[in-house]
Amino acid sequence: MNSPGTAVVVRDLEKRFGDFVAVNRVSFEVKRGEIFGFLGPNGAGKSTTIRMLCGILIPSGGAGTVAGLDILTRQEEIKANIGYMSQKFSLYEDLTVEENIDFYSGIYRIPAEKKQARKEWVLQMAGLKEHLHSRTGTLSGGWKQRLSLGCAILHEPPVIFLDEPTSGVDPISRRQFWDLIYELAGKGVTVFVTTHYMDEAEYCDRIALIYRGELIAMGAPADLKTEKLREDSIAPSMEDLFVSLIEAHDRDARPQEEVRR
């Protein structure tokens, strides 16, 4: 299922919580070094999908690989090859910046000769040099986000998963954060990022729109817009594009529901 050019492959991935279908048989591929945007409103199934790919949630059905490793059987190996940044800030607030970095260096076993360089890199990248000994809880949102990213990629994983990394962060910090993502992608790192900011979709190489657990559109942002342009003959904004895609999906889905009644 995996070729050397793909970082993530998913076929019919499904997650049910009781009767509720959170992710309904989604399939997609992410190429190595690509910035892949996973878009959708809250509750669409973005986090659920990302958690299944990171090996911290067991899929109900389907198959897939991450970094060439099966997501059903080799979850622990996947964990050594990915970086994951969850939606909620999840570093230790009572530890200092340095202690958090040291902790994750220890967990990922960064070799002693590289440790200092990686720490410097994170501090530089996050702009936290002067705050080395500050408690993490006292940092502002943008700093926390960049420190989280830094701790998640200390071990230089080939694939990183970012779950709404920029939510609740000011526009300048968001911009800085995306500069970092570009920098990483430039080095060949595959970036899988979820967001509900439509402007951020433009920054991605390819995007997938997930709505009510289903994948309703996928492609490069420009291609999706061109398709839309053919129908309406007005150049759409990203936001218009998504609203119309979602409405079209609802129109298609509703008649069926009525028939079923």
Binding site: D94, G106, S148
Partner: protein, 378 residues
């Protein structure tokens, strides 16, 4: 299991503890406080029973009897009553726990060689003390009667005689029969059980509640590494608590420590590992700090207090309850501590208890590892 990850976790956990001085203070002060409180309050000794006396006779004979009471170390005459109402008041107000009433014809009847009944009233609302006080009263009067009888025999027969049989009681291990000597060692066991489980009951649940667990489970860290790493700093605190408790027993309560001190700390270490892991298991299963701490309290305190043989002798319990006590790890630790402290015995006699503590520790360790999942549920 990789030791470098255990070390990383242990170091991080240690920083958490140091950064939270209130919890650290609690972890060290609470055992000391409990030990002092229970150590002083939980005395089973009945000493110097406050006594009310109503001497209706008022003769040298009656005063001699009363002197037997006031002269013994068991009674302390607090009230000299002049009528029955004053006796009742003294007992109702707990000014006296017992009363001695000498009848008006005491001297006359004694002079006539009759048996003279003397009334002893005991406050039964405290049954344990009442029983002991009654026993003391019997012993004091019996000794006095015996003395009188011998004097009479000697007067009539003209020669001193001796009683043919005499018991010479000798109490081993706790010569003065001081209750603190057996309460303190047991108390150390009970307190350590509760504190150890409480200490670790928050650690895993806290990470789930704060969301830090989600980050942690996305890394290659393994369950046993996490559990062991989290245990280590708390183990250090637990051993410090044991050390402080032993020092308090030695210098504060003067409890004799006759056995091997090394063995004492070795079995404490085994017990602590099990009790700390039990707290961790509760934390793993509940994923909620509030629930975990409450559960840890209930699951450890009551069984350790009531069913460990710390205060209530297991041999006196109904057979069914006796069976349950085998499931209480504190039971073995209490037996070990009492044995080491008072009898100075070692593994040659307490080997089975020590082995069962190891089994308990290994069992909770295995269950905790089985129950810990590196997965989110929602």
């Amino acid at each position: 299991m990789k030791l470098f990850r255990v070390r990383a976790i242990a170091r991080k956990e240690f920083i958490h503890i140091v950064r939270d001085p209130r919890s650290l203070g609690m972890a060290i002060a609470v055992p000391m406080l409990l030990l002092s409180l229970f150590g002083f309050a939980l005395t089973m000794d009945v000493d110097k029973v406050p006594l009310a006396v109503w001497d209706q006779s008022g003769t040298p004979d009656s005063r001699e009897l009363i002197a037997q009471f006031s002269g013994s170390r068991y009674f302390n005459i607090r009230v000299q009553a002049r009528n029955y109402r004053e006796v009742v008041r003294a007992i109702d107000s707990r000014e006296a726990l017992a009363a001695l009433i000498v009848p008006a014809d005491f001297a006359d009847r004694m002079g006539a060689g009759q048996v003279v009944p003397v009334q002893a009233i005991v406050d039964g609302s405290d049954a344990n003390t009442a029983t002991i006080a009654m026993g003391y009263a019997r012993v004091v009067t019996f000794a006095y009667s015996q003395q009188l009888a011998l004097r009479e025999v000697q007067r009539v027969g003209g020669a001193a005689i001796n009683l043919p049989v005499e018991v010479r009681p000798r109490v081993w291990y706790n010569g003065d029969m001081e209750s603190k000597n057996y309460i303190i060692p047991g108390l150390i066991a009970v307190i350590m059980m509760v504190i150890a489980a409480l200490l670790t009951s928050l650690t895993v649940a806290r990470e789930w509640e704060r969301g830090t667990m989600e980050q942690l489970i996305s890394t290659p860290v393994r369950g046993p590494e996490l559990i062991l790493g989290k245990l280590l700093p708390y183990f250090a605190i637990g051993m410090l608590d044991v050390l402080l408790a032993v020092l308090m027993g030695e210098f504060f309560f003067d409890v004799p420590l006759r056995g091997n001190v090394g063995l004492l700390f070795a079995v404490s270490a085994i017990f602590l590992s099990g009790a700390l892991t039990l707290g961790m298991l509760i934390s793993i299963v509940t994923k909620s700090q509030l629930l975990a701490s409450q559960l840890a309290m209930v699951l450890t305190f009551l069984p350790a207090f009531l069913l460990s043989g710390f205060m209530y002798d297991i041999g006196n319990m109904p057979k069914f309850i006796q069976g349950i006590t085998y499931l209480i790890p504190a039971r073995y630790f209490v037996a070990l501590l009492k044995g080491i402290y008072l009898k100075g015995i070692g593994l040659e006699i307490l080997g089975m208890e020590a082995l069962l503590l190891v089994v308990f520790g290994a069992l909770v360790m295995v269950v905790a590892n089985l129950k810990y999942r590196k997965k989110v549920t929602v």
